[in-house]
Structures are given as C-alpha cells and as structure tokens.
C-alpha cells in the first residue's frame, strides 16, 4: 500500500468540472457592467517609421470613447529587465506586420472595428530584414539602434574543458548542420484582457497570462501607477504553452483605456492577432561537431546556434543561452563549447514555447547521435545507455545533476516497444526511431535579480475543516491548481476536493514567479508543502493532546488524524482544526521556496541552465512513409518520462501525451513562415495543427526517480516530454527510407525530393538539410526580390 493517501492517485483535477461544463470563467467570459470593447490597430508594414498618427476621424466616429497610441505609453518594457526594447504600442517605428500601433475603446465590437479604419497612419517604409543571414550582414539597416554588429541582438560564447584535446583524442568526428523551423503555440483560447480602473483609483486587470507577477511589475513601469494600486488576476488560460508569458500591448492598452474612460475595457485578440503576438519557437540554424572514441564515448562537443529572434527581445537572451545550456545534462561530455547568436528580423517576436530553447538543439543532437551510432555500428538505445551522465554529478558546464532517470526511461521504452529488435527490420517505408532528452524543473534564477522566494504560498484552515490555499501560480490547463490542492491535502490528511485554491491573484496570493520553465510543481509545490507542514504541526499538537498519543505516532489521511499504531484512535480533521484554533489562534501559515545555491556555475551566462532538478525523458516513434505521395504517417509515439514522482499519474500522462502531440505537430507540419513580411498562414485552417484524426497513438510511461528535493519527490512533466519526440520521428523516418532529415518540418515535398520523385528528373538524396549558414535551401533575398517584382508589376499595371 502506498504511504500516501492523495499523491499517486488518479483523482480528477479539482477544476475539471468547471472546465468541462463551461463554468470556468476565461477573461473573454467577463462582462463587467459598462464595459467597453477595445481593439488594436496593427502595423501593415514590416519595417517603417511612423511619420504621423491622426486619430481625429476615429474619435469623431459615433460610439468611439477613447483612443490611445504609443506616445501615451512611451516607457520601454519587456519580460527581461536587461533587454527591454519594446513599448506597449509602437512608438516612432514599427518592426513587424501586426505590431500594435493604437488602441480603440468603443461601445461595441463593430464600432471598435470600424474606428480602426478611421485612424490615419502615415508610414515611411524602411528596408526590411527577414532572414538570419541578412540580419548578420546588413550593417546598413538597423532594426534596433542598440545592435552593435549588424542586427545582432545577443552573441554568447562559453567554453568548458579541453575542447581541442577532446577533438584530438576522438577516433571519429561528426560535423552536421541542422535547421529547426519556427512555429507557434496556437493556444485554443486567444489572448484576452479586461481592465477596470475603479473609483478608488485602483486598477484591476483580468488577463490570460502565465506571469501575473512580472506583468504586475511592467504595468507599474509603463502606466506610472504604483503597484500597490494595481491588481493582476490571471484568469484560467485556455492553453498557453509559453505564448502568454510576456507582457503584451493589449494588456497595457486595455489598462490605459480604462484609466482614461473609467469604464472596464476588454480586448480579446482574434486568431490572426495571436499569430502576430507569437513569442513562439525560434527558427534556429545549428552546427554541431561531436568527437567520439571508437566505443562511442563522447570526447568533445562544439555546438553553435543562430536564432532568428523576430523584432523584439522577449525572452531571447534566455532562449539563446538555453540552446547551449542543457546539451550536457544527458550524456557525458568532457569538453564543450557553445557559441550562440540571436538576431533581430522584421517578423513577430519569437520567445519561449514548451521546451524553451532546448527543443531545437536536442533535435539536432539526438539526430546526430543516431548518425554516430550508425557510423560506429552501435544500437542507438544501448549506445545512449552506455554514455549517460550519472546521477548526483556535475556536468562540464557546472550544472548540478541530482536524480537522473534517463536510463530507466530507455529500459522502459525497450520493454514497451522492442525498439532494438525492430530497428532496421520493418521493411522499406516503415521505421522506428529513438531519442532522449532532459528539461529543467524551473529556472534556477528569477527573471529579475532578487533574494526573495521564487514561490510563496499561504494556507488558511476554517472552522469547518475547509482549507484555502493561496498561491500566485497561474493555471494554464497544466493542472497547477490541482497540484496545489493535492500537495496541501496530502500534507494535511484531507482530500483535494476539500481545498479551495486561490491562484494567480497578485492581491490575494503570495508571489509565485509564474507558470513558465516548468517550475510550478517543484517550486510552488514545495512552498505549499512548507506552509501545510507548519499547519500540520499545529493540528498534530492539538490532536496529540486530545488523543493522548505522542505526536510522532500521529498520521493524517482521509480527513482524520490518527494513531499509527491504532488507527481506530483518531480525531476528525474538522475537530482537530477547532482544537488547534482554540489552542494556537487563527490557523494561517505561509510557506516559501527558493532553489538552493550552488546548483550552477558562477561565470557570466551561468544563470541559464541550473535548476533544482532535471527531468529526463525518451521517446520511440513508429512511422510509415507513402513512397509515392511522400505522405508521412506517424503511427505511434511512446514516451517514457522521469517526473521524479507522479503526484497525479493521470495528469502526468496527460502532459506527456500533450507534449508528444505538440512535438509531432512541429515536425510533421507546423511552421510560422512568411512571404515578404507577411505571415503566410495566420489561421487555424492553414496553420496545420494536427487534428485528432491525424494524431498517432500516444503511449505515456511514467518513470519515477523520486527526487530528494522535489515535493514528495516530484519533478516537472509539462515540457520535457516534447523534446525527444521530434528527433525520434526524424530518426524513424531515416529507418523507414534511409534519408536524414536535418531540417524541420518533414513535409511530403521534402520526402519526394529525397526519394527523387519531386519531378521527372529527380535524383534520390540521402539527406535533406542545410549545408552552412548561407548554404540553406532558400536564398534569403528571394522574398525581397519577389516583393519588389510584384510591387513593380502592380505599378506598371496601374500606369497602363
């Protein structure tokens, strides 16, 4: 029997009924009395100076109540304090098509919509920059004046161990280029915010955000309103995946419009606008050089990445470091060099998407390991098992490893899929592929430097035995409210359904840094456990007196506090609460969590990568390729994930399956691509999210390494399981048709090209992918040439 009464059980999420019945109140479901409807005017130009904005015609339009522009909020903002380069609405210059320029508040949506057409904006076009290559070279065009070299946002170089010695000692060196196409989160709930500035001169903002605390800080900075007069309430997010973890223009615009009109103002983005808000997966070009001994032991890795950041910083500095930081935590690497460059381009800003910055290098590295295994005639699964980074160790880049279950994940996969026997044996057109990965359970450092807890929680027990947990976490569908309730219930000996959760409210709940970097279970879980254990001590003291049983013999479960040696001797939780309140006064306790010191290095750039515990995972994909049409079908993905301990296995499996689905979509079809400066397919009809009919059979295997520092041993489960799925599918396609796909997505066109069937003169290829920075498939200037030609032709037609 389990030592737990709540942990490890497949209980329904505490908020699932609200979500299933439609009771859950998303931001767009809120209709405060007197509410105005807001809409943003967006830039139609990829790169232009704003010469003039005239809102007078729009203001005169009946039903329009207020309009704000960039000039009203010129303060720089952005999620990372060191790289704030955005304004709430564009000031002086626009840098991508879709950038917010002005905000309108009107009596209804139609009027707001009409008013946008009446705002006159005069632009002076500037030459746009669309590709990594152009951005690196174009000194004459500056998207941001702050770039020292061309349009470089950030350049980082880190080196650990004896790289030259490592390569010199290698028996075999592989040098491969990869390209990972950009893609976006596509949450089904579009972003929405409702602001209300009350007669008490206080602002309340209900918004679909993952980071209410960081947004709170930015609102203060941009609006010039003290934080004590601002309350941010994170509404339930209908999916976020990293796409709601920046402060956004519509949030500030709604707030300022409400301050101006003293009426509530709602701005809900339409689907197309969500594609412009973006902050999704960076397109990344990569070069990976890896040296190995004959037996496969890695001697050195030199990893280089070039990230296409889009028009603004977002989390870009962290993303850049993340592309290089986590390659070392899975397999032993004695010498490691990382060079990373992120550039600005005139496209919607890229940011963090599930797997933040680690997904692209993991894809490249795991594809390369598959090649190395083949070069050395090793079984890819067995090979990975032999080179694992050990538990309780330090990596070459000084990251502390504690629990490490990658080996167990690989074993579980082999048992479940018989990968090693089936690889190479399925016949042409069918294949099986494998990859491993790791992820963080929360970033080791906060986004702004401070010594305060990363997560705080407060628990109150009422006189009827009800328990309220307050924590600043944001419920984004991942199950954080349920996690808070489960951890508190386990510690207090009640059930999650007895717990009221107040989350994501900056006024009611202590700060939690937010639902990003898979930090909530580990950090908020520990904070809640800390608070609950304090109350447990008070309850046990009271129960001990009542039962005349020493405290150390007491246990709590199923709403009882009982004698371990004689469970029939018990006091009900509700009664214990009354006894404890009589004895100790009001039952409130606060808890907090801060990651331990010394989990990473001290060099510049060491802040990205450390975490209190890494999750590990591996996946096996089974695919079929239609050799005539090039259609790739993924038949099954099996993912084994070391989550430390599954607080709720059903929820963990849901996260593993959701991650596998998302990774599958990224490699098979999804791409955030542009024609000139225009998003090519900003709709859910054309941005090809897989449907349930397309999705492979998904199997999740939970592996428990029971982490010593995690709450009840838990680590993250929400992001890591995405990473191995992408290279596993690429490796499976190789097993099926003998072609290496060193770029994503793997489209039918590329498969036909590789098979020599793209056209009548086609020749079979063994690899699809870039050969260098400029040797990619597309000439970066093509788009521009096309744009110019099309404009010129249009002009000629007008003249004639």
């Amino acid at each position: 029997m389990s030592e737990f009464s709540v942990i490890g059980r497949r209980l329904p999420k505490v908020n699932s009924w609200a979500h299933l019945t439609g009771e859950a109140r998303y931001a767009d479901d809120l209709f405060p009395p007197r509410m105005l409807y807001g809409r943003l005017l967006r830039s139609t130009r990829p790169h232009a100076r704003i010469k003039r904005i005239d809102v007078s015609r729009a203001l005169a339009h009946p039903g329009v109540v207020a309009i704000v522009t960039g000039a009203d909020m010129p303060e720089k903002m952005g999620i990372m304090p060191s790289t704030q380069d955005e304004t709430a609405l564009a000031v002086d210059k626009v840098r991508y098509v879709g950038e917010p320029v002005a905000g309108v508040a009107a009596v209804d949506e139609d009027t707001a919509f009409e008013a946008l057409e009446l705002i006159d904006v005069e632009y002076e076009d500037l030459e746009p920059v669309f590709t990594i290559e152009e951005a690196l070279e174009r000194e004459d065009v500056k998207i941001h004046q702050t770039s020292k070299r061309a349009n470089v946002f950030k350049e980082v170089h880190l080196s650990f161990g004896d790289l030259d010695g490592g390569f010199a000692a290698a028996d075999h060196v592989r040098d491969d280029w990869f390209f990972f196409e950009g893609n976006t989160h596509a949450p089904i709930e579009s972003h929405s915010a409702v602001a209300s500035y009350g007669p008490d001169d206080k602002l309340t903002l209900w918004t679909a955000t993952q980071v209410p605390h960081y947004l709170h800080r930015e609102l203060e900075k941009v609006l010039g309103l003290p934080r004590s007069r601002i309350r941010v309430i994170a509404t339930p997010n209908g999916g976020a995946f990293g796409g709601k973890s920046d402060p956004f223009g519509h949030e500030f615009a709604a707030a300022l419009l409400s301050m101006r009109t003293r009426r509530p103002v709602k701005i809900t983005l339409d689907r197309e606008e969500v594609f412009y808000a973006h902050r999704g997966r960076h397109p990344v070009k990569m070069r990976i050089r890896t040296g190995v001994k004959k037996d496969g032991e890695i001697t050195a890795v030199h990893y280089q990445s070039w990230l296409d950041g889009g028009a603004y910083a977002s989390y870009g500095i962290a993303t850049t470091y993340y592309t290089g930081a986590l390659l070392t935590v899975t397999y032993r690497i004695p010498a490691y060099k990382f060079d990373g460059v992120r550039v600005y381009t005139n496209k919607p800003p890229c940011g963090p998407k599930r797997g933040h910055g680690t997904t692209q290098p993991r894809y490249g590295f795991e594809c390369q390991l598959d090649k190395i295994a083949e070069d050395l005639r090793l079984d890819p699964l067995d090979y990975r098992k032999r080179i694992l980074q050990p538990a309780n160790s330090r990596t070459v880049n000084e990251l502390r490893i504690t629990s490490m279950g990658l080996g167990d994940c690989l074993d579980a996969l082999q048992r479940a899929t018989r990968y090693s026997e089936r690889r190479g044996q399925l016949g042409r057109g069918k294949g099986v592929g494998l990859a491993g990965s790791a992820y963080i359970s929360g970033a080791g450092l906060p986004i702004y430097w401070n010594e305060m807890p990363h997560s705080g929680a407060e628990i109150r027990i009422d006189r009827g035995g009800g328990v309220t947990v307050m924590c600043g976490t944001s419920e984004i569908g991942q199950g954080s409210d349920n996690m808070l309730a489960s951890v508190a219930a386990e510690a207090l000996g009640i059930l999650p359904s007895d717990v009221h959760v107040v989350s994501g409210d900056t006024s009611l709940a202590p700060v939690d840094l937010g639902s990003y970097s898979s930090r909530v279970t580990f950090m908020a879980g520990n904070a809640v456990k800390d608070a609950a254990m304090k109350l447990r001590a008070l309850l046990f003291a009271a129960a001990s007196e009542k039962l005349e049983v020493p405290k150390k013999r007491l246990l709590a479960a199923y709403r009882r506090i009982y004698d371990r040696d004689d469970p029939e001797k018990f006091v009900l939780f509700a009664d214990a609460a009354v006894l404890a309140e009589s004895k100790h006064g009001t039952l409130v306790a606060a808890g907090s969590y801060q990651p331990p010191k010394g989990i990473g290095g001290t060099f510049k750039g060491a802040g990205v990568g450390p975490t209190p515990a890494y999750s590990y995972q591996a996946a096996v994909a089974e695919v079929s390729v239609d050799l005539e049409t090039g259609t790739l079908t993924v038949d099954k993905v099996t993912t084994a994930h070391d989550c430390g301990r599954a607080l709720n296995p059903a929820n963990v499996e849901g996260q593993i399956e959701g991650s596998a689905y998302m990774g599958y979509g990224e490699i098979i079809a999804e791409e955030q691509v542009f024609r000139g400066g225009l998003h090519k397919k900003p709709s859910l009809l054309e941005y090809k999210l897989p449907t349930s009919l397309d999705t492979p059979v998904l199997e999740a295997i939970v592996v428990e390494s029971v982490d010593a520092e995690g709450p009840f041993g838990a680590k993250e489960a929400g992001e890591g399981p995405l990473n191995p799925v992408i290279p596993a599918i690429a490796n499976a396609v190789y097993d099926a048709i003998g072609v290496r796909f060193d770029e994503t997505p793997i489209t039918p066109e590329k498969i036909l090209d590789a098979l020599g069937k793209r056209d009548r003169r086609g020749q079979p290829k063994s690899r699809i992918g870039p050969d260098g920075l400029n040797g990619g498939k597309s000439d970066p200037k093509n788009a521009l040439r096309r744009l110019t030609a099309s404009t010129a032709a249009r002009e000629r037609k007008r003249m004639s």
Partner: protein, 338 residues
Amino acid sequence: MLRLPRFRVLSPRSYEEAAQLLREHGAGELDRSRGTPTLRIMLVAGGTDLFPNMKRRQFAPELLVSLARVRDAAGIQQNGQLDISAGTTLTAIANDPLVRERYTALAEAAGVVSTPQLRNMGTIGGNVCLDTRCNWYDQSLFWRTAEGFCMKTNPDVVCRVATSSPRCLAVASADTVPALLALDATIHVEDADGGRDVPLKDFYQEDGIRATTMRPDEVLTDITLPDASGWRSTYLKLRDRGSFDFPIAALAAAVRHDGGHVSDARIAITALGSRPMLVEAAATPLIGTRLPDEVIAIAADAVHKAARPMDNTSGTISQRKRAAYVFAERALRSLRAA
C-alpha cells in the same frame, strides 16, 4: 474576434421567389461604396464558406437571400436517374445508402468535405458553387490591406500568384465537383423567367474570378445524375490533415465494366487549377481494356499533364502534381473488375 459586416437577410419560400428577389435587388451589380467593390446581393445556403469569407471582408453584400426556408429544397430521389435537390446537406449525401452503393465517388467526396459540423450545414449546391480559393485571397481584410490586395478583390491590382497572369489564378476547391463530373452530372438553374439545364462539365471556366457560367440572377436548384448501372467510381483527395482541409489535389474516376472490359470511363480532377475538369485524354485509352498497369500509366500521364497547380494553396506544386498522377493510378487500380 472578427465580426460580420452588417447585412439584411431575405428568406424566400421558393426558388421562384428567390430568383425574383435576385432580379429585384439588382443581382450582379457591384457596390463600390464600401472599400473594395462587392456584390450587392448574394445567395446563402449552408453559409459554411460564405460567412467566414464575409468576416474576412472578401465580400460584404448588404443583402443575403437565404435558401434555408425554401420548401422541398433537400432530398434525393431515384427514378432511373438520380435527382439531388441543391439544398441536400453533404452529410445526407455521404450517408445515403443508394449514393454510397451506386455513386460511390460522390458519397466519398461529400464525406471528406471539411468537418462533420460543416457537412451538417453545408449543401451540395453550395459546394458546387464554392468560391475559388487562394492563399493571397482567403485572408483577412487586415492581411490583404498589408499586402495591397489582389486581382480577385481589386481589379486595379495584379494577380499575386503570377504577376504577369492576365487572369485570376484562384483554385477550384470543391470536393464533390470532380465526383459529379465523373458521374456525368447535369445541373438545373433557374432565374425569374424560367430554368435551364447545364451539363456540369460546361458549367466551369478557367478563371478564378468568374469561375462558373451561372449568372448572378440564377439559382442552382437540382443536380441530376444518369443511371449508374455497371459503373464503379471512387474519389481520392490530397489534403494536409484528416479533417478541415480543402483539397489541394483531388481526382474522381468512374469506370463502366462490360464483360470484364471497360466500356466507358470518366476521370475528373480539381484543386489543380482554376477549373475542375474532365480529363478526356486520360479516359479514352481505358476503353476496351481490363485496366492493365501500362494503360493506367498512360491515363496517369494524361492526368499529370492536365494538372496545372500554382503556388497558392498549402503543399507544393510538385507534390500536388505528383499526387494527381498517383491518385489516377490508385483510383483506376481500385476500379478494376473483381
């Protein structure tokens, strides 16, 4: 979210009344008062394609004539030939036992249009009259403003797909049409003065803007398919996903067997040009054969030659052309006599 433009709805109870309304309200006239020119009055049946397009302001008629309340607008009747009323939903066609058995290609095509919800609303008449599609055209007003519009919504602008093209290259995208072509459909249209029958193969033209020969004051009322005794047919569709998506290449084939030999055949394609079409050069070589591989290859070559996709849908030109070839092969192989 995107909002519909303001409009009024007229709900006639009969096709005659609908045709009268079209005439009274100046069907075919362009309204130039609201940005890009738009038809003043349009018909709406299921609305599954029309309303999203209106939200994106691809057109914004001030009047819609809804066919939802027209009496006897839906139903499938057999008396030697098959009569399908234009208002029959795609779901009803896909599920009809007779259509599934005798006119298999049509049932298959109707069953793979978009999603179940849209098939429940969408009608066969609406699908036959579906607006042509293009990824420069099926975009929001904001997007098209940023782009500078295209020929299909603004006569002063070039075709974005091929700037030298004298005509609009938007793509025929209706699933049921190649199936109906392969099954030799005739359609019946009515205006205020009366009706006319048009063989479906003469209904479409190679122009993304004026894609059909139907006049703006006409209403499509019925579709007739001849007796299908001895015929077998099938429909194959290329799309990115198992649901939602319009075809990016599609082929329907129908073959009549007589004593083990093919006595008649029709092959039709769509989503490979502005016009859905019968590929006669693919059908002729099949006559008198038992569909051996080498004859199928000749037919597939003819289909490949007839397919003229442009870079204005998802997928790529070569992928779609290749699919046309492969689908011809697969469809004909599946139609060999047992």
